[in-house]
Symmetry: D2
Subunit: 429 residues, 4 copies
């Protein structure tokens, strides 16, 4: 059970310096965000006599901890690409430079490696001119890498470079490593704010209702669904099979299904299915019915769906420690072909695996708005002296979430949620 | 002051029929959505001893009012185009047909006119086949028109055609007219659910935190900002001036400013400015400084901004009764040219007015997801027998909002909100 | 050696009917297109005393063979998808209906299968309303299939359905089958024009300088090259590897290389290369140098490139009789990883195989213009009574090319051509 | 009448230096491009005993004039924006640097102004790093301006800066000014190659069959036609009116009409029309018929069309000396409204003027290929010592065209050409 303590955020020390950001832009004191949204939930807490858990609202504070004139900041991006990385980088720098007049901002190359001297990766000096147009370019100008490095060595580097503020943009693994750095910083009693900016195209970080890159992923997935639909319609019993990101959570698949209603099957990790059994959740007989009726079908599958269907479980992990899934797309393609071949029914499968083509795009539209505000709030949090914290989002507000809370468990699709009800209403399975 | 009564939704009669939607998809009884999100706000209500206002959560109910087998539904779209109209239409039909098996759905042509016999506009019969691919096409397959018609005549038509469920997709004016229809229905004691689906690309309907089409507008505006930036950089003292939608509220301009950070000036109705005075909010001297420093600038202006700058106030109104604004874009172009000509400074202005090219697109990405869920919930509300209600959205949930509450006042940018703080931090003015 | 005879086009009979197309739109009599374009080439023909080969210019003729009022037309699409299929279909129908007032146009389903009764594929009736918006949709509304059918059975069907004009849109195999149908038609002395519309996204049909879909393929490939570049820059020694279409000819790879100059290596079937030898055309050592210098690289490979690098030659063929290539993309990925692993150099390869996502798009821009004009000319050729002919393009003009000439040999990149000189000048290899 | 002399290109002096470009990439000696393409045309020349006019093929020559090691190059862009300017700039630099190892390349700011000291515009130093990603960005990194400057002053600057090679990217006016510079260079007996790169989004430069930016303009226009169509269908008697570029020639309007077949009326300068007369070319009665039949219409109008319809002729000219047209779009909007108001017929016009949003985009697809090859050939021409020449394109080959020939007269749509025949067949007027 969560207690109020789990929501508390750490501060490096007393906030004594007047914030150069004008007063009208300060966040209200005690501006916490209430966690429950329904009356039922609220009543339950009240009835149980529990304190209602809540997050601190992100934003500029009246007093800050780090003196801007003496601040050196550093930014790193780690893990796989995600739309919006360059937007976040641009707005970190813009906010550090324009609102706080921080004189020096380093770009650390290739994730945590850039903090380990043996890799000989010279940091970039980041100015507003360097980043002026990068919000229209995908990827990350800093480069990225997977995996963690020794926090002792990295804190040595931060200390030697006199860095006071470190922004770590990355997923689960990246945030855990940021937490370790924050711990080492605390052990040495250094004054370095470690701020996590949660990057998960899968939108699966706990206690954060939205993450950057997700909207762009949905937007772009729609193009591939249309392509799959066109291929499916273009052949007799054509099947367009699209694998999208979603290692443990099917949010991309679910949203993309509603975002382009040509999808007939939406397969996600949270909702187990079988291939050829008798039950309602048996894909192949259901697909056979669909083809008999319409002669074409589109299947959208999250990469983490149906892992139980593999005979031997995968033991491989990537450098970030994520379990590497076996390829459900290829398995489905094989099993569908076998099933219909055995029945002497012609099918024509076209398989799409567009992940890299999605995650390497720049963020667009309101996703870019989200990146900008996220980065601004990350700078405010850092200058205020918060540490070991990620910038979250809850109920239309940006929040401060302790890293351990954010990495405690992945967010998953609630099969009783309005989202999944809506998906279920529009697909065959 | 709002009272609980303002949040109450009307029901045509007792819900006595078992909902054909499976039980797992029903919305929880008493699933109201809490209105305040901050502890401070919550405490204030509690301290004052007031009932916390809240919305009913939208969704399928256990029992419904209209018998699907006997139901005839009609859909109309009114007012200007907006991304997502066809998505909404498709999902209304899909939900009526698949989840409730409603046998007959009419498409009313050209807004409320289609309900007035003298216009001789035969309704369309809408089936799933007819709407299969329309979610990829902008505009509305039903056609639209501005202005209201006599509710008595329209209710005559609904009654004569035995329509039980009417979906009105449109803005302020459309919703008010829907409310009048609902009133006339009530006076005649008919059993017709009138459900409003709020359409406002400006995202300015009260008590609704997000409206369909808005995300696509932000996404598309970014292309025009980039074009304006390229034009501005391509000429000496180049100025790219982009007018976007936003009659009374500057949400599009504000979000588009963060969505494409090439914008240097964001002018919205909520934040008055002068042209050539001395103060901090004086555009032309500020622009002169910017050009001296960088030799190019991008200005984003909402159509409703700066109306005080016109000498004679506009008296024109469109057929929907909206006051027609004078063209702030053309005024700015003229005044900028005059100001710099008087100072013998060369400037090169390129003016963009992309409204029609934005609003006529299909909804994309999560905006399409929103349309789908909105339409599904509209059907649930209708079949449950609710009437005189619009489908809203609050804190990630879909809600039922009484039409009078939704049309009471327009939503505007709060200049103390996180959104505007973020905008202010990234522009010169 | 080609003789004049190879350029002669067949006519079903005497053109006796006045063309309903107005006179100003007729193509000039004797409007042949000269084949050579350089003085040197021209001189060579003249010196050798040879007749200069030429094509007949396509277009409406003064007199036609088929009486429009009695004409029944049929359209089929065969082989893989290609951008522009629906544009071609739309303009065939529009031209048949508007310019010739042909009363009945059938859409044959799923390629040649639709002409074989045993498949039970009812033809569609194609009207202008049916095809009004299809030019904005990818794929083919008719469906397609690979492989040929018995021409005797198909001509039985054509005869029984009283079809006078058959349009076959497809590649090499499709055109050869069309030629066989035309032969069978001739043997039976029927009056059926068989017109081929060459579909090859690879742009590799002989004696035709441009084919539809190609431009859209180049346009779309650029997005994947950018994605590959972003992925490559985002990782240490990142390599973006993109496989594009090009079974026997590398035109897509060559043009896409110039179309997005992030490409560093362009591998095509016409230009053999080795992997790890010493020579100048050895990919892996060259790549090693590139990575040492810049730490990222983009490789663009045509699917037919490097087939000599496989130990055992592929014996598989698809239903159209095309030899199925082994996957050069996967081979390169494997060999690159092995090469650098053996040298203990980290590389990060991201592999893109976007073929289906490219070919399933609608044609755009001047590619759509090309489709429209191609289809118009196909109708003119058909109504004039030409048969066994494809509509080609040469030197900015549309031409009539006998099917046997068009299918005689594939067009390949001339390594001494300006195109390849330009590619060579911009890549490392 | 043209004589052979009109096709002759000027050379600064003897080509004595071995070209560093490898021999396999040299263009063949005497590789002239034949001008006529039809047998009829060819026969006419032969019968008349005339020499067949031809262009010199562009490309690297065996010997060159300028010693690369001592060469200083300069690039300028003048006139309005056009898709592909940055592609051209990038490939000029890439070719100068990679193929010729030219040590210094200047970017002249804001067109010819940058060569006039009084404007204090410091040139940029252009390296491969500076231009690495600019092919994905619209506009011109050099800036542009309209109008000419004194060639004496400009040649003073070129001489003082020791520039040997000047690339002028621009339209008619720009090329004429380049010709004047070349003349002044010749009078002073300097060794400066002046190479024009023809920029005309209208595709209207004489003796050049294709110009860069045109394809992208067609591609992008299609989006606005779709928007206009959606707006037209969305209202009763809706009319989507789109004005596209085309000051004197209607190539964009013509191609865009075929490129998006939603267009019903294509109005170009070459094809006069009346508004309300009786004849076949009378727009308003024709439009009335269309609306009566279909209740919506799309009109595409080139900016230079219908200038005869204005009562007083425009006397305004822009800084480049181009006559400024009166706004045919606004005139049409006004006259259409008046015509139907007088007849008491409701119409709803939506007017689109997307020029800036089209011309400020980057070149895409085969348009970018064209830019790359054009720029490469410009560098070859310059290093070979040619001067007073533009790089043209004819029959799939790049050519050298004397500037006076290219600027002699604008290319216009031939109303008897296949292009216009195709347009006429698909529109009402």
């Amino acid at each position: 059970m969560l207690t109020q303590k789990d929501f508390d955020v750490k501060l490096l020390g007393t906030q004594e310096i007047q914030n150069p950001v004008p007063e009208r832009d300060w966040v209200p004191e005690n501006g916490g965000i209430v966690y429950p949204s329904s009356i039922r939930e609220l009543d339950a807490y009240t009835a149980a006599g529990e304190t209602i858990p809540h997050f601190r609202q992100a934003g500029a504070t009246a007093k800050i901890f780090h003196d801007p004139a003496w601040t050196k900041a550093a930014i790193l991006t780690a893990g796989g690409l995600c739309p919006g990385l360059n937007d976040v980088i641009k707005f970190l720098i813009r906010t550090l430079k324009r609102q706080y007049r921080v004189p020096l901002v380093y770009g650390i190359r290739y994730g945590y490696r850039g903090l380990v001297p043996q890799f000989h990766l010279e940091p970039m000096i980041l100015t507003e001119d360097v980043v002026d147009g990068i919000h229209e370019i995908g990827g990350t100008i800093l480069g990225s890498s997977r995996g963690r490095q020794d926090e002792k060595i990295m804190v040595d580097t931060l200390d030697r470079m006199n860095i006071n503020v470190l922004f770590c943009v990355g997923g689960d693994g990246t945030l855990r490593c940021a937490h370790d750095i924050a711990g080492e910083v605390q052990r040495r009693n250094l004054k370095i704010s470690v701020i996590g900016i949660p990057k998960t195209i899968d939108n699966d970080i706990g206690f954060i209702d939205k993450s950057f890159g997700f909207e762009t992923a949905i937007y772009t997935s729609a193009h591939f669904v249309t392509a799959a639909h066109n291929e499916a319609e273009g052949a007799y019993n054509g099947i367009g099979l699209v694998k999208v990101m979603g290692r443990d959570s099917g949010f991309i698949a679910a949203a993309a299904t509603l975002g382009n209603s040509h999808v007939n099957y939406c397969l996600v990790p949270e909702n187990p299915f079988t291939l050829d059994g008798d039950g309602m959740k048996s894909l192949l007989p259901n697909l056979e019915d669909r083809l008999a009726e319409r002669h074409h079908a589109v299947i959208l599958v999250a990469e983490g769906a149906g892992q139980n269907l593999f005979e031997t479980e995968s033991a491989r992990r990537d450098a970030s420690g994520n379990k590497l899934h076996q390829d459900i797309g290829l398995l489905l393609k094989k099993r569908i072909n076998e099933y219909f071949a055995a029945k002497n029914i012609e099918v024509n499968i076209k398989y799409f695996d567009p992940s890299y083509a999605i995650r390497s795009l720049p963020a667009s539209g309101t996703d870019a708005v989200f990146c900008a505000m996220l980065a601004q709030n990350a700078v405010h949090a850092a200058m205020s002296g918060y540490t070991d914290v990620v910038i979250g989002h809850w109920h239309n507000d940006f929040t401060l979430v302790p890293i351990p809370l954010a990495t405690r468990q992945r967010k998953k699709i609630d099969l009783t949620s309005p989202l999944w009800k809506s998906v279920r209403a529009t697909v065959r399975m």
